[in-house]
């Protein structure tokens, strides 16, 4: 029943609107806490010195760039198979957020690379595959905006999102498959972590904070797209009249 309700645009608009302020609030609180612990309380790294603090931006952004692409591809698959309009909208609303996180990953990583490796950029497998991820996001956004009919546009872009998912294992395993300048994983779900707890906790807090950023931003974008697509429908006009 809940899934069916979520498919109704007025219900989705109303229901999700209640959560967005809370998601922003939790994001702000967690970010403030995580940055305080990471930038102020955590000790400097014995090898990298202070530059390791870029990790609290770079790593959560990199995780988000991949997580958002995965969720976009899964939603794209659901949208193509079951043709659920809300899911199409959510998949397409994910692309700009994922692109933003990928830009943050690449710029923060580049600025971390200069003091650590002595260069801003190398055509290393990890860096190059992450750059390809940015191009995939831009491709999905470009394809979606190039077709006038929104549902056809979403279906074409969803197909590209699914095909592009092949890049995700390449990004993840690039540091194992090839000799790279980029370091391997310091944290794994099953294998634990090689980072000290004083440095690990701020990272985990920032990782959770970015999930709330994604949720709040995704729902905001989906609601705006619904308003735009349904501007001639009665429920949109009622909402605008209520706000007047």
């Amino acid at each position: 029943m809940f899934i069916h309700k979520m498919g109704s645009p007025p219900w989705f608009y109303d229901f999700t609107g209640k959560f967005i302020p809370w998601f922003w609030l939790i994001f702000a609180a967690l970010t403030a806490w995580g940055l305080y612990l990471g930038l102020v309380k955590a000790p400097a790294d014995y090898q990298q010195g202070e530059s390791f603090r870029i990790m609290y931006l770079h790593v959560p952004a990199a995780w988000m760039s991949m997580l958002i692409y995965s969720s976009m591809a899964v939603m794209g698959f659901i949208a193509l198979v079951w043709r659920i309009r809300i899911v199409e909208i959510l998949a397409m609303a994910s692309a700009p957020i994922g692109a933003a996180f990928t830009i943050v990953t690449l710029t923060a990583g580049s600025l971390w690379g200069r003091p650590t490796w002595g260069t801003y950029w190398v055509w290393d497998a990890r860096l190059t595959s992450e750059l390809v991820l940015l191009f995939l996001y831009l491709g999905v956004i470009g394809l979606y905006n190039s077709i006038d009919e929104p549902r056809k546009a979403a279906r074409a872009a969803c197909l590209l999102a699914i095909v592009g998912a092949v890049n995700l294992p390449i990004i993840h395993y690039s540091v194992k498959w090839w000799n790279t300048l980029h370091q391997g994983s310091s944290i794994s779900l099953l294998g634990g972590s090689s980072i000290d707890a004083s440095m690990l906790w701020p990272l985990l807090i920032m990782a959770v904070a970015t999930k709330f950023f994604y949720a709040a931003n995704l729902l905001t974008r989906a609601r705006v797209t619904l308003l735009e697509q349904d501007k001639r429908k009665a429920w949109v006009r009622e909402i605008l009249k209520e706000k007047n």
Partner: protein, 51 residues
């Protein structure tokens, strides 16, 4: 080598990109709401025989 400029630049760029990412849909929503209100006004006027 001081690391502060690199840290500052990374966080500043990150803040700008994510801030714009958060604000862009709100700007778009405002423009859409304005368009819809204008559309309603035009439709109301065309329905009103005195106008």
């Amino acid at each position: 080598m001081s690391h502060a400029p690199f840290i500052l630049a990374a966080y500043s760029i990150g803040a700008i990109v994510l801030f714009w990412c958060a604000v862009a849909p709100l700007v778009k929503k405002k423009a859409i709401a304005r368009d819809i209100r204008r559309l309603i006004q035009i439709e109301d006027r065309s329905r009103d025989p005195n106008s």
